[in-house]
């Protein structure tokens, strides 16, 4: 605070010095002198323009007369130069301005709160990481690792650590990118693939896209007992409606977890959710089966119904009936063999959720 006050005082003095220098350099000039100078230049300018033929003589005369009248008016209106400034009063005023500013600053500012430039923070985090890495939160740890990633371009383990910390810090997208580099450098480790898949799922707000599914498949290919790979695969199977396979995968995860492991509670909750989903799916499937039957019959009699084909295709996808889905696509292509744009439109429409259009 003392240092801050001293610097603030120096800054205030510098700012006031600008004003003092200006005022010292300006000799007081009476307004009348200014007006005289202004109109003298004005008349000179009128003469110049007249000489160049830019204005006519009568206009020049009129402008000069106007300037003369204005000058006479100025002579009537103006007083001579203003009174000199009293240095003591000025100094007191300056001190008052500085004091009020400082008082206001204490009210709106955060005195004593230091700057935190990123480079400086990174340096502090690096020291902390070297001294006691466990005490450092994931985000700073990730930043420390990221800053040195250039020195470990070919170290898969380094990238995996970086990716894990980024994921723990909530930077799922960056985490997925780091973990992708890790599996590219060393594709043999199942753990690397399941970490990568997990980051992709988290980056996509819990949805497992094709890349994530592929990552978990790669993990289980290398280690069929990889817990993370098994767990996410179970969730994917549940979301796909393959409940028995999902339950088997969850059971396999449970069998590997020791008693008292907090993760067992999560799996138990997942299994409860799985049973609920199975019940709900059975009810929905019955409804959709009925709709599919009606729709199939209708499309046989009136096949030129792009909306109907899209809905049928979507229904087969919801029911996970791949054979029926393939047959429907073939039927759509046959129906619109002369209109490929229509085929593309139906296929695209079927990929969108109900109601999105």
């Amino acid at each position: 605070m003392i240092l801050f006050s001293v610097i603030a005082a120096i800054l205030s003095a510098t700012v006031f010095a600008v004003a003092v220098l200006w005022l010292k350099g300006r000799m007081p000039v009476s307004d009348l002198a200014r007006e005289k100078a202004l109109y003298a230049r004005f008349v000179d300018d009128v003469d110049r323009r007249l000489a160049r033929g830019q204005i006519e003589a009568d206009l020049a005369l009129e402008e000069k007369a106007e300037a003369g009248r204005a000058l006479l008016k100025a002579a009537r209106d103006h007083n001579e130069s203003s009174a000199p400034l009293k240095p003591a009063v000025v100094m007191t005023g300056a001190a008052l301005v500085a004091a009020i500013s400082f008082g206001l600053y204490v009210f709106v500012g955060m005195p004593g709160y230091p700057d935190q430039p990123y480079a400086q923070r990174l340096e502090a985090w690096t020291k902390a990481a070297q001294a006691n890495p466990d005490a450092l939160p994931p985000k700073p740890m990730a930043e420390v690792l990221k800053a040195r990633a250039g020195d470990h371009k070919n170290d898969a383990g380094y990238w995996q650590q970086l990716g894990r910390h980024q994921v723990m810090a909530g930077d799922y997208f960056d985490g997925a990118r780091s973990l992708e580099i890790s599996v590219r450098l060393d594709p043999a480790r199942a753990e690397g693939w399941s970490d990568f898949g997990e980051a992709l799922v988290l980056a996509a707000d819990g949805v497992a896209d094709d890349s994530a599914r592929n990552a978990f498949a790669e993990a289980l290919k290398r280690d069929p007992n990889d817990i993370s790979g098994l767990y996410y695969t179970a969730k994917i199977l549940r979301d796909d409606g393959r409940f028995d396979a999902a339950k088997a995968a969850f059971d396999k995860v449970l069998s590997q977890l020791p008693a008292g492991d907090p993760r067992r509670e999560t799996i138990a909750a997942d299994l409860t959710a799985l049973n609920e989903a199975r019940t709900a799916q059975a009810q929905v499937s019955a409804q959709i089966q009925g709709m599919v039957g009606n729709l199939t019959a209708r499309l046989k009699t009136t096949p030129d119904d792009p909306d109907g084909w899209a809905r049928l295709l979507r229904a087969h996808r919801v029911l996970k009936d791949q054979a029926a889905e393939a047959a429907t696509i073939a039927a759509i292509r046959a129906q619109y063999r002369h209109n490929p744009d229509q085929v593309a439109a139906i296929l695209n429409k079927a990929t969108r959720p109900v109601g999105s259009e």
Binding site: S82, S101, L104, M110, Y118, A119
Partner: protein, 667 residues
Amino acid sequence: MIAELGTFCLTLAFVLSVAQALVVPASKLKIFAGFARLSEGLSLSGAVAAALAFAALLYAFLTSDFSVANVAANSHTLKPLLYKISGAWGSHEGSMLLWCLILLSFSAMVTLLGAGLPDSLKHKVLTVQGVLGAMFTGFTLFSSNPLARVYPAPFEGKSLNPMLQDPALAFHPPLLYLGYVGFSVVFSFAVAALIEGRIDRAWARYVRPWTLLAWSFLTVGITLGSFWAYYELGWGGWWFWDPVENASLMPWLAGTALLHAAIVMEKRDALKAWTVFLALLAFTFSMMGAFLVRSGVLTSVHAFAVDPKRGILLLIILFVTAGFGFTLYALRSRSLSSSGIFAPVSRESALVVNNLLLFAALSSVCLGTLYPLLMEATTGKTISVGEPYYLLTFGPIIGAALLLAPLAMLLSWKRADLKGVLQRLATAFGVSVICAVVATLGIKGIDIGGRVVFILGLLLGFWLIFGSFKMLAERVGLFKGTMGESRRRFMGLSLGIHGMILAHVGLGVFVLGATFEGHARLSTAASLSAGAGLKVGGYEVIFDGIRRYDGPNYLAEAADLTVRRTDGKLVCGAAPERRFYPASRQTMSEVAICFTPLNDLYFVLGESSLDAAGQPQWQVRALYNPWVRLIFVGPLLMALGGLLSLLDRRLRLGVATSSKALKQEAS
């Protein structure tokens, strides 16, 4: 500590502005006699303090100091350097500090360049500037401090809106603010003169350069913003009649009218009341723009999403400032009678009509902008006022003003010979008609009504250009003597005349571009897979494929397009992109443009989908924008004309540089 010193400097700037506003009234007291002069020094000190505060903010952005809330909300460690700098004014808080810095710098410029101003007027101008400075720095300090801290500091920033990470937009706000805030000096001159009760030709002479400066910056600022909207937002248009765009157009129109009115006042001691009114109006509209953008009443790509509480504070500043100015104007209206007399047919009359038309155009824009807001506020109903309204109201009025412009340039002061001027301009008009008709010959697909409007628009553009050249030809006596003599006269013309001609030619160039692009633009869109193509405006576009790459702070999907003429000649390669910014989790479209001297081929990459074979394809939109270059070159010529005029000895901001020189001249 630097961030805290920045806040201290902002506090200092606020207190200095308050002091600047108080010293002149205080000098009426005996104890403070002579204190009025202090307002000069205080204006310089205030500007230095504001510059130090802004430098502290820049430092916080450059060093990614996320303990500053504004940096944490608008920056990121991976952001390129240019956008770290422009992030300083990319938010409401930062841009308010920039506004204050420019405002206080203009006050300092009045001190530095106003040696030729009468002291009493200069000190009153500085008083008004001090009041404005106190209000805006106070608002910034107490409700929108860009250097406010956050504890604990986040580990990473949220990054600047990707749409604002663009070179044109990095420079657009400072230039726009130089225009907006530049009008504050004009406002202060008007209020100071009203207080002093002395408004004469000299006053008009003092005000004109400041108006020219602000108007030139505002022109460039609006043009840059329009150019940004054209290539960044991906709709292919350059002006959307968005309320925020209109908010910048209104002070520009008021400033344009003021420039012309001030000429009449300076030359003929006429239109005093009108000129002062416009001087007050231009900055009032500037402040209204600030309110509209920051109050949260508008939803726009240009608007800062700010809470209404701060909007109310800005509204109070607007009402207090404009209210005081216009009340004073009403009280002093009797002293604003003009002595200059002129005939109905004269340059003065033409400029009066020009002013009336500009004011009518300004009113139509103002109505279209504010009516939906007032309606929503009073009835809760929402309506949208768009392009059709402006084309039917603003279009014809401004068209009439453009038709009049070449006539006004050739009419004499006081009393003119209209018939003679019309005869002198007949050739220019004839050539304009021929050019307009010829230019539209090759354009198909426009109905008769549209074609008439098209031809009329082009006619106005050519008329402005050839009319301006006619004036130039007469001034230099082209074909009336030897070429050497004409060249000598050309070189002898004042920079003000050169500037005026360039500005009017620029306006004509803009009108040509806007008319042609508006009527002859072609657009097509298709879903393309690799190897497929589409045709637009006599060009064939082949989609070569999609390329993915990592940018500094984004991931991009770029379409490689090859553009050929129908005869097979390669024109360019274009790569429109879709960029994903992980920090803000936003996807943005990056337009690709094939620049030719006059026309643009403009490409936008859309979303992907599946084709009939289940293969991926991408939506590509292609536009052919003929003569679009003129839309942006024209205003730049206008601004250049304005700045050229500023170099004219008679219009320089600093009429005299030292008191010594003044004394010598006076003696």
